[in-house]
Symmetry: D4
Subunit: 255 residues, 8 copies
């Protein structure tokens, strides 16, 4: 979305010069407003990638399979690709049946539709998972990064109870453009990583744990209070959001 | 406190044998009940060390200076020594004035009275503090251990943001009978220590931090959810309790 | 894990003396780093017992049956024994089918594999449960202790609403090396026990209760605020962690 | 407050019989409505004792000294006595200066005005306090009971860390009409008392404690989850409310 | 439970006088200790009614059907009657099949076994429910009162949104020995009742509601903060506990 | 409900004048009390519309299908129409079978019975939903408004991540009598709307979200803290309550 | 703020017709954007009243006295009047000194500047306060309403513990355009009022209370869960917001 | 910190070749370990910038003025510059007196010491503040960025209640490398910004607000649940952390 003032000025000058009728100018001005596409129960925001660097994706958790399929197909048509996260089992099934060429990832409950021809990946993000149980969230991040054509390197089961597993992989981690660190329970891994690397660290608390983990609150609070400066945090189990944050950084690097 | 049944049986046999009058037997039975000493506003539990391995100490936070001084002197008289924790400034001042030979520690807000002749210390506890701001709590633990004549080794400012500081002191830590780990903010240090040592690890969350540390809740939850197995936790800022837990372990070793 | 510096020095002297080639020395140095074994989705930490006194165990709650079986077998192979806790029903079933000689405990949802020949048990831990509903958690602690070859004595249904049940068993409890006290609802039992015994008391809050018990928060807070000094606490329903804490104490006694 | 219907019927018959004019009848009916007395900023509820068994008392915490003094004097005039609780220091000072014969209790921050001639006390309530720091709340309960001319017996510093102190006073406690149990920290005392006596047990959590006591939440939750059946609970630090609950019971006994 | 000292003294005098052998005296002393009966997984507290005015009841929520049936039958045998609350469906079914003459109440999920011959009821408790959805909790209270042979009067659906429904039943409510007020959502009913009656008011918050009712926390907090003095509170959905509290009051009246 | 005093005075004068017997007068006075209709388990409040502007509706979540059907039919008979919200699936099914002409809305889980002849709608309320997942709550509001014969205009999927969707519909929104804004996740939409329109804004937080949305708490807190002045809030997912609040405003406009 | 499209179209036609140069048209378009006035540290939103029905007011709590005075004077100059709420004592003092004709209300900590000539008040809002301690919040609402030239009627100290005080004032309350109900502690008053009046009810929880009132959370939750349909709620102690919500309703009536 | 293995290998080859004695090699190896400098009560981590891209800074909130001054001077000596945040007033005073050339910022409570000669700034970060009361936190971010020689552009008082203030500054914001968005109350600004820009958005919740803002929790939760994808969050009031996160991004761009 360019500055509205610049747009207005150019158009006004064209109107004044008679190169544009008021009706055509109104059409032009309207085109400057962000586009929207209407499907039943949804208004698609098809300018979102231009504006915010990442196209509208579908949060499928609170939607019926029919709603998700309809929006998925409309986004695929408008943007050439589509991504749905947090799909219930029946939604994954419906997408598999109704959308040709969709790729379903059961563990992260995501569905992706991409054009057949993909450009070379931009940049590289390290995705760390503290434990095996954190993998579905790390997978959601990886799927999202791949959807945006960003490179990914994975290190799994490197939690702080055996810190040598992380130390032995530091060289790899330090070469990434940013690090996504996925951890449940006490969520200590981002603090240790943040003290050892200079690149951005995006911490993702997970709901892995029980009792006083309170569905991920313990990990979330731990990460927000990290003694390693400059660690940022996203919502519990939000692998998608961490990936988009990393993509914003890649967007910036390539700007 | 011996089994009441064994005591009763012995005494009953003495009564039956005429070696003891009923009145004397009643006195004997009463002596078997734990002792208590009354001062205004308090009932002192002077058998507590015999029963639970550590004498009654004074939690001075909710008491008037007059109450604390009176109980301190009564405990000193009954037990030969006394300890008061969480003393407000005016209470420290009152103790300094009224109790001969009391040792005041301003930073941890404790007051101690000990007999002049001390036996050789038993065992050795490592007291780790993650940051400089955690020192008052670590000091409270150290004062309590010294009060119980237990050896102490200190490592301060060894938090996980610069994990090499801990790694360089591991040999010292591993030689201790138990480790008390004091940390605020995200409270990650006990997890890292717990993954590196085989001795008991007692974690003490502190209220150091701000915002979403919620006065130590973040650290407390982090420690309760430690991925390092077998880490135990005490209340926020409870250096005293951690020390008594360690003393119970030393009691056990020497039993 | 010995001090890295001592190891380095010895090896360097051997290199200097020509007794060791640089390549061999590098291998030696590497061997000094903690070992890891890779299975799909997991990096096993096979040095953990040497380092922290208890081998890696499997937290099966967030894992697929396939993941748990694979890790269980790899740990059994590497360590000669394996323990999985919080196994969903289908995981217990898969372990029963796939792992020869595994012992399943339905009530505590644990699976254990041990060598056929067991040494004499070390020490003795008392495991107290306040009510019948707390037994699964107490069982998890007992299974873990037995896995580590530590002696166990049990006292169940000894909650404070009928305090004579505890008082009648005090002699037994006092003889243990440490006491694990499992209680839900208001979690008062550890305070009463802590006031009556001198050995370490490890309190385990359970999620037994309803309404304002908030899934064990009431018991957890009660135990953290115990007026009996030196009681330490583990996570809600964490019988496993309490047992490992007790094992660390036994490790210390035998050190 | 009698049934409005019975009152209406009697009056209507009197009107019908010409024994009462409509205007007088309206006055009669109005008198049947609960009385109120207006002072600046307050509408006094001078029928409250008739209706609910205890006269209106003043919660002075959120009021200016001037407001409290004015309401205190108006209640004293209307009811013959007055009680103010939670008085800030300046309010106590203002009451002392402005109200003749007022009795100030500094520790519980209460002020009482009573007629010179008191009837013999009704019933007897045991007021137990777990620790010395809980005394201000226990005092508020005792002052309120005395204001209502109810007998009081006190047992202080009888917390569960030294349970023999309670056991030695059981005969006294069991003779009371009801027991008010005041405790902070983990709030375990009411559970133990509830298991040992058959009379009503009113639990008062206090804000005594620190860290995870969260200003009395730990004690409150402990008491609400008591495994001793039939323990009821009032707000944190609400000695006044516990006393009025006990008075309602005495009211019932004498009804 | 009589004072242990008085008991001891009498027995000791008999031993001294030769009227009792030491062995017999030991038996006597033991009998003075509260009785317990052991079943698998439970220690029954068969003196509880003598001590606390209400026999041990079974909290069936965390128990297997087998455990509940076994304890139910043992209590029935020891006490002549038995009560189980919060029974899962399969437990109710098992009790129906295994226990002759048991009375099952589906709505409150309780099971009761009583002797065929019942004495005349003692006293009368009013049980109010604010809404239809609160009835299962009110029923649990009523079943418990009837189990203890206490009279009950019910008023249902009298919530504050239509306050005339309560006002029209005040005469009935005021005649009760105590009032149990069951309410969910904002839990305002006990405050209104407490302002209108002089007898004890026991408030029971329920988990009826959604969103910010947080499973009954809103009602619980409302009741704890009641502006009507002397209202006491039990745990969320704890109709059983409210009934036992009322029974303690009846016990007191008849003492 | 007219002032009781005026009613009483008129009736008393009639009695005094002999135009009314006491018995008839008592009947008159009783009629002045709000009406109630009794069905099993419920006391219907059939004057509620006269008093509070909206007839009693059924909150079906905690009721059995039988209870809901019985109350629905009784309300329909007394008021000529009926509304049930939060109906479980089996309740919707029972209503469909038992109540002739009932209209079921599956998405909002509501059931409505209306007279066949409807007057012209009063006023117009804009119902905004931030996302597709918020539609069930917005639907509940719309059904309730239509039940009360109030006009509705809908704007769905206009959340702040693509704020142009809202800006393009401002003219419509500004023409409404009031705006109901339904939003989950961070709940920012009411703040933006509140800054752009002058009519009343009623914010409805939804439980749409995951992790730190805590079932709608994040949205609820966001709305309560709106920097746009004069935004009011109802309970999480309470589309019904928001609609009734809007109806109260329409009632006011037409008064 | 008119529809941007209509504005654009009119201006474009003028440009096309040569009645407006592009530069002048740009100025026109810019003027259509909402106005802002810059002072150090603030951007004043001087179109806010036109847009949202109430001018920008100053939330003085987090601002220095200098900042508040500067913004106050700038708003007074731009809008002809100004309002500051939650002023610290030193800010009130600074306003008194620096702003001619300012009216300070100490109890509600507000400052107001109004033009000397006031139009006749629009509408009438009833402001109810449950207790004397709630008056500062009720005053903030009243001051805000008067600032907006809206009529106010007050009823104070009409809480539910003596419900007759409210019932006796119902006729007055029912005549208002809307009712603001201010209450602390359990916050039950809005439920009772909501069941008795048909006009909008805006509930304001206050922080009056202690212990489990948690600074107003108990009252807030009570109001959000009101069983009286259509009660809306604002933030704790937010008398200002309740008043602006009422003003939005008056705006609507007069539209 | 280079890979330890590469370092080891190089050194070992030198030892093997006789170019290095074992003692010298040990020194070399030690130098490869991160450096630390000891002052009383602290172990400075002087390699931190090399490792994590930002030198150790001082969190002064929990330290005495003496501790902060000593650490500040030691860091200044080791690193050539120093930064202290959250300084109490007395600490700012002590730094002003003791540290030559220190720059104190009262509003953000920070102290900075920089070398006289500064390189040209790297990159540009936009720092947005929603309201005037959020400025101290935004200032802390700006001071930290300037300390790291990163360019800053500020936009203050651009909250969503007057959203045109933000829209008018979008061109500026979009040109930044990243955006730090500081907001209290409902914290909605980052969602709106995140929907309009493609660069990284770092959200900082502030404790500005009252009542249900709960010291910044409302804003924190709002930001964690942002419907704008890829917004990351730091702790409440943590302007410092947001700045370091932005610096990590700049580090990445320049890598």
């Amino acid at each position: 979305m360019k500055s509205p003032e610049t747009a207005m000025k150019t158009i006004l000058e064209a109107v004044s010069a008679g190169r544009l009728t008021p009706a055509a100018a109104l059409g032009e001005l309207r085109r400057r407003l962000p586009g929207e596409v209407s499907v039943p129960d949804a208004l698609l925001d098809v300018d979102r990638e231009a504006r915010s660097g990442f196209p509208e994706a579908i949060y499928a958790a609170g939607k019926t399979p029919e709603q998700t399929v309809a929006i998925f197909q409309a986004l695929k048509k408008a943007n050439g690709r589509a991504l749905a996260t947090r799909c219930p089992a029946e939604t994954l099934e419906a997408l598999r049946k109704k959308v040709r060429g969709v790729r379903i990832d059961e563990r992260s409950r995501t569905a992706v539709s991409l054009p057949s021809r993909k450009p070379a990946p931009r940049g590289c993000i390290a995705v760390l998972a503290a434990g095996t149980s954190d993998l579905p969230v790390a997978d959601e991040a990886a799927v999202t990064l791949e959807f945006a054509n960003v490179g990914v390197v994975r290190c799994s089961d490197v939690g702080v109870a055996g810190i040598h597993r992380l130390l032995g992989r530091l060289d790899t981690v330090r070469k990434a453009d940013a690090v996504i660190v996925v951890a449940g329970m006490e969520g200590a891994l981002p603090s240790v990583v943040g003290g050892l690397v200079a690149v951005p660290v995006i911490a993702v608390p997970t709901s892995v744990g029980y009792g006083a983990s309170f569905g991920g609150i313990a990990a979330l609070l731990g990460m927000l209070n990290s003694c390693a400066a400059g660690v940022t945090v996203v919502n519990i189990d939000n692998g998608f959001g961490a990936a988009v944050a990393a993509i914003r950084m890649i967007n910036g690097r390539n700007a």
